[in-house]
Amino acid sequence: MSQTLPLLSILTFTPLIGAILLLFVNKNSHGVLRTVAMVVSVLTFVLSLPLISGYNGAGTAPGNIGGFQFIEKVPWIAAGPFQMNYQLGIDGISLWLVILATFIMPIAILSTWTAVEEKVKEYMICLLLLEVGMIGTFVSLDLFLFYIYWEVMLIPMYFIIGIWGGKNKIYAAVKFFIYTMVGSLLMLVALIVLYFKAGGGDFNILRFYDLTLDPASQTWLFLAFALAFAIKVPMFPLHTWLPDAHTEAPTAGSVILAAVLLKMGTYGYVRFAMPLFPDATATFTPLIATLSVIGIVYASLVAMVQADVKKLVAYSSVAHLGFVMLGIFALNTQGITGGMLQMLNHGVSTGALFLIVGFIYERRHTRLITDFGGLAKQMPVFAVMFMIVTFSSIGLPGTNGFVGEFLVLLGAFQSSLRWYAIIATSGVILSAVYMLWMFQRVMFGELKNPKNQVLKDLNAREVIIMLPLLFLIFFMGVYPRPFIDSMAPSIDRLIKQTTKNQVAKIAPAAAAMLAVPAAQAATAAPGAPAEAGAPAATGAPAEAGAAAAPAATAATAAAAAAPHGAEPAPAAHEVK
């Protein structure tokens, strides 16, 4: 890939240029407005494709810094000691999220072709600005820049819900805004504190990764970041803004909200909260896992009894994101890979579900399950697509949903979160219950309601919207290798990052936690290679060169803390 082209900047600002272009279009020529927005979003997607081919998972490509590629760095604001850079780059984790955002956007725009007839110009501008924010958030390597994009994203979404939303739009929009804002402000404070802890300089995230903070400040900083991200995910019990926002938002808003915006929260954890504050991560893992598992079971149960299809899908989102969180906090390869895949899968499947709900809402102007029934007879094409998406959401093997969910559970089961994994596995039953029950009531049975007897099946535009999503549902289910393979190095780096500092820093709690797997390995199978003590083993070599002494102390501390006087397992050997 030619590194001379600032691809990521071009990508980020293409929608912005599109939005500016739209300013000069007559607000009554809806066709032109829609076409311009569509062309711009497709162009953005096409421009994002070179990232896939250009990204080198192994990380040996020229211009690769700390596992990141397509790096751009321009000094931006220099105010005395404060140095903010415009610094971009992607790794295997953000790569696919960027693609997800650029991929979903044309679909979302196409889905609003006939749904939004008022203030089309402003609507399209909002959508494109939203895309700027989304891409920018995923590609920023400068914490300050990240924060700016994070906020940029919030405003168009606020308008989308508040202006083009349903009956109760103001309440939903304000709730969405305030919830997110509370989190963002805490994050801003934490960000500034972190900056001063780092002793000034620039806001380069790669630099912050090398910091070793004392446990107390880690705890507070982690809490601030984690709260901001947990609201965005959303995690139980901070989830109640989501059903409201989803039900009130127009279809395109719901699709983007579910497919991309929720991933900001989980992305925030893997990019910032976890690698920056490894000790705090270890300390809070049980809490977060508990909330994730409650989220899975609770949201599934609540989804089951919803009367409104869109609310049901919104609650199912909460459950799916619970799986993601459980996976990434398992902090092993399978768990994080599963969590990352599940983010993409959720984007595809739940995005598709919201489109489906949008299709029938546009026809019937109701989303109540009881208003439907027997649609399968009247709308066979719609029925097939709805069914495929439903089973993808349930996580049927062969569809995308399965691979992610399976790896999450497998990973969690092998980590210290085994019992959580067992409870979370019951989610596979519950998801079948609420999705199939809803599907049955909407699609099966007799076509009684006269209003439903005249419904038209999907038109060509709607079929075209769905086709790419259906393709991905099967492709990611049958051949997830390209995704997994390109993520793998970045995920390994993340695990090292998050476990390295734990070893280096001799926080007693963390050392004890590390010692448990090591001790298990030592007692269960003497002489077995290091697999079971993976966190300790993988963490140590990376540290060996830079800070051999603290690492060694950590290993001994770990061994001392281990029950039954287990021998200082792999970590100590590696350090020598």
Binding site: V305, L410, F413, T425, L436, F444, V478, A525
Partner: protein, 670 residues
């Protein structure tokens, strides 16, 4: 031929794609049905080729693996899309593709004129594809893909007449109950993978790799947990207590579906899974006992319900549940070969019975239709005397009934008797053996009774149809009766593949070996050796005892038949009197012991109520209450503060004056 194993699942998949995408445009039933049937026939031919090649190899070398591509690889975990051919999967292949082909053929006649004909064959092909993945997958995860895939197809086909609420309900119930089982299957997989990996550094889910490391598995302990988890999966898929209630409801689907999915193939997946992992199961005596007890209890329990049902398909459905119980009984007593043998013979006679009942329903439907009667064509109380009108259906049905009843010489006799003998003589369960045998024997008597009750009520006696309807009754077309004939022949002679040693020695001096057992031996070799080494080899029971038990079970079966004859032919007034004498008992049996109602009361309704509470109580009142409460407090406070900034100059002047007074006051009175 081995190299072409991937063709076996590919053919039906091609059928799915063609019929699924273009079926609606093709319209022609012969082409749609032809493509689907041909696809399965292609798989059948390849399977035959593989069988021949397998037979041409020495026993211990009869296995072959082919990996197509790596599906998921993450860290230490790796799952391939790969196929395993060995005697066990080969037996399953023959059953699935063979029975599958016949049932496809039958469906062309049976589903003639149905709306959504193409949809039916798409689902049916998809089912065969999934089932073939299940039985040929070389690792646990691929097996799970098939496992869930057949569940999906079962859901789709049960709900085929989706405009009926009962069909939709039944499909959903089947899928959800299967998912409960899948929950167990997944936990089993996780535990096995984690245990073998973290303690023995064997990170694999490949069957042959697991089998080669079977020595590392301890006896009991974690293995009991693993095997019990997997067994939960089996109870869901194979309709065992406590997850059996979906299978009778599954009869909402078209009858050929019941024959293929809910009798011959899918529901035996649990049995196959245990047989496939016999080397793990043999390590846990506890699990074996649980399986044996669940199997025996299911066999007996379902048989009791079968005696009081009037819907011809429901009788067969409970019979299936009961027969599956036998297979699990076999697994639980370590008689894996006998279980697979019964799986095979059951596929023959039960498919024949279901297709036969389909033929009857088909004829009844047309006859009643002519009369514009809305009587239930599946209710045996509307039938009677059908044998004269439908001779082929009658004879094939009778042969299959004799086979399932366990009359010597027919397929069911050999396999069922083998299981009963093993239940009695196995080295695993000590004192429990006699209980297991007794349950099995009683169930055998009940089976003979309810099956002959069905035959007598349907085919014998005076018809209960009106003359006009009876006049319109006629034998089904060739595509329907041809599969019946083939399956009846298999029900008659299929048992000779597994003639027990004692019979073979008596009649032929041992010249007629137990083919199936020898064929399957290598698959179960580890378990056999393990038992031999742990001092639990073949029990030493006298030949006389084996003869005695065999005679006993035959007698019990004959007793059941005689009883059915007495009640439904000789003295038809008696059943009514029995019902009148024991109304409570009859109602309980007729209503399936109220198990569905109990489940609703204990699980479904509380779950719904609790969910409603979570939503309306917790989510809306508590969480949003706090959120909105905070907002209200903020608004209230700001409402108060608002009075400070009114924008009116005299207010500001007043507060300024007040401030001055306060400061001055403080200063003065300090």
């Amino acid at each position: 031929m081995f190299e072409y194993v991937w063709l076996i699942p590919l053919f039906p998949l091609i059928g799915v794609v063609i019929n699924g995408l273009f079926g609606k445009k093709i319209k022609n039933e012969m082409i749609i049905g032809g493509i689907a049937s041909l696809a399965v026939f292609g798989s059948f031919l390849v399977s035959c080729g593989i069988l021949v090649q397998l037979l041409g190899m020495p026993g211990e070398e009869r296995h072959f693996e082919k990996t197509i591509f790596t599906w998921i690889q993450s860290g230490t975990f790796k799952a391939d899309v790969g196929f395993l051919i060995d005697p066990l999967s080969c037996v399953m292949l023959m059953v699935v593709t063979g029975a599958g082909f016949l049932i496809h053929l039958y469906s062309i006649g049976y589903m003639h004129g149905e709306e959504g004909f193409y949809r039916y064959f798409t689902y049916l092909n998809l089912f065969v594809f999934s089932m073939l993945l299940l039985v040929t997958g070389n690792n646990l995860l691929l097996m799970f893909v098939g496992w869930e895939g057949v569940g999906l197809c079962s859901y789709l086909l049960i709900g085929y007449y989706f405009h009926k609420k009962s069909a939709g309900d039944a499909g959903k119930k089947a899928f959800v109950m299967n998912r409960v089982g899948d929950f167990g299957f997944l936990l089993g997989l996780f535990t096995l993978f984690w245990y073998m990996g973290s303690t023995h550094n064997v990170w694999t889910i490949n069957f042959r790799e697991l089998a080669s490391h079977a020595d590392m598995l301890p006896v009991g302990g974690v293995v009991t947990a693993i095997t019990l988890f997997f067994f939960i999966g089996a109870t869901g898929k194979s309709a065992q207590i406590p997850l059996y209630t979906w299978l009778p409801d599954a009869m909402e689907g078209p009858t050929p579906v019941s024959a293929l999915i809910h009798a011959a193939t899918m529901v035996t997946a649990g049995v196959y899974m245990i047989a496939r992992m016999n080397f793990i199961y043999i390590k846990s005596p506890t699990t074996l006992l649980v399986i044996a007890c669940v199997g025996a209890a299911t066999a007996l329990f379902a048989a009791t319900i079968g005696t009081a049902q009037n819907d011809i398909k429901r009788v067969l459905a409970y019979s299936t549940v009961s027969q599956l119980g036998y297979m699990f009984l076999a697994m639980g007593v370590g008689a894996f070969g006998a279980g697979v043998f019964h799986l095979m013979t059951h596929a023959f006679f039960k498919a024949c019975l279901f297709l036969g009942s389909g033929s009857v329903i088909h004829a009844m439907h047309h006859a009643l239709h002519h009369e514009h009667s809305d009587a239930d064509p599946q209710d045996m109380r509307n039938m009677g005397g059908l044998r004269k009108k439908m001779p082929i259906t009658f004879w094939t049905f009778l042969i299959a009934t004799i086979a399932i009843a366990g009359i010597p010489g027919f397929a069911g006799f050999f396999s069922k008797d083998e299981i009963l003998w093993q239940a009695f003589s196995n080295p695993h369960h000590g004192e429990m053996n006699i209980v297991l045998w007794l349950a099995g024997a009683c169930a055998a008597g009940l089976t003979a009774f309810y099956m002959f009750r069905l035959v007598f009520m349907t085919f014998f006696g005076k018809t209960r149809l009106s003359d006009k309807a009876y006049h319109h009754l006629h034998e089904s077309p060739f595509v329907i009766v041809f599969p019946l004939i083939v399956l009846a022949a298999l029900s008659m002679f299929g048992g000779y593949l597994g003639v027990p040693k004692v019979l073979s020695e008596f009649f032929t001096g041992g010249a007629f070996p137990n083919y199936l057992e020898h064929f399957l031996d290598p698959v179960f070799a580890y378990s056999t050796n393990f038992m031999a080494h742990s001092g639990h080899g073949e029990g030493h029971h006298s030949v006389a005892l084996e003869w005695g038990l065999m005679g006993g079970s035959v007698l019990i079966a004959c007793g059941g038949i005689a009883f059915a004859w007495a009640l439904y032919i000789a003295y038809p007034a008696i059943p009514g009197r029995i019902v009148a004498t024991f109304p409570v008992l009859h109602r309980a049996v007729y209503n399936k012991w109220y198990v569905d109602e109990i489940y609703d009361f204990m699980i479904v309704n509380p779950c719904k109520a609790f969910s409603n509470f979570l939503w309306k109580g917790f989510d809306v009142v508590i969480v949003d209450g706090v959120v909105n409460g905070v907002a209200a407090v903020v608004r209230g406070l700001s409402g108060l503060l608002r009075h400070v900034q009114t924008g009116l100059v005299h207010n500001y002047a007043f507060s300024m004056a007040l401030g001055v007074v306060v400061i001055v006051g403080c200063y003065l009175f300090r």
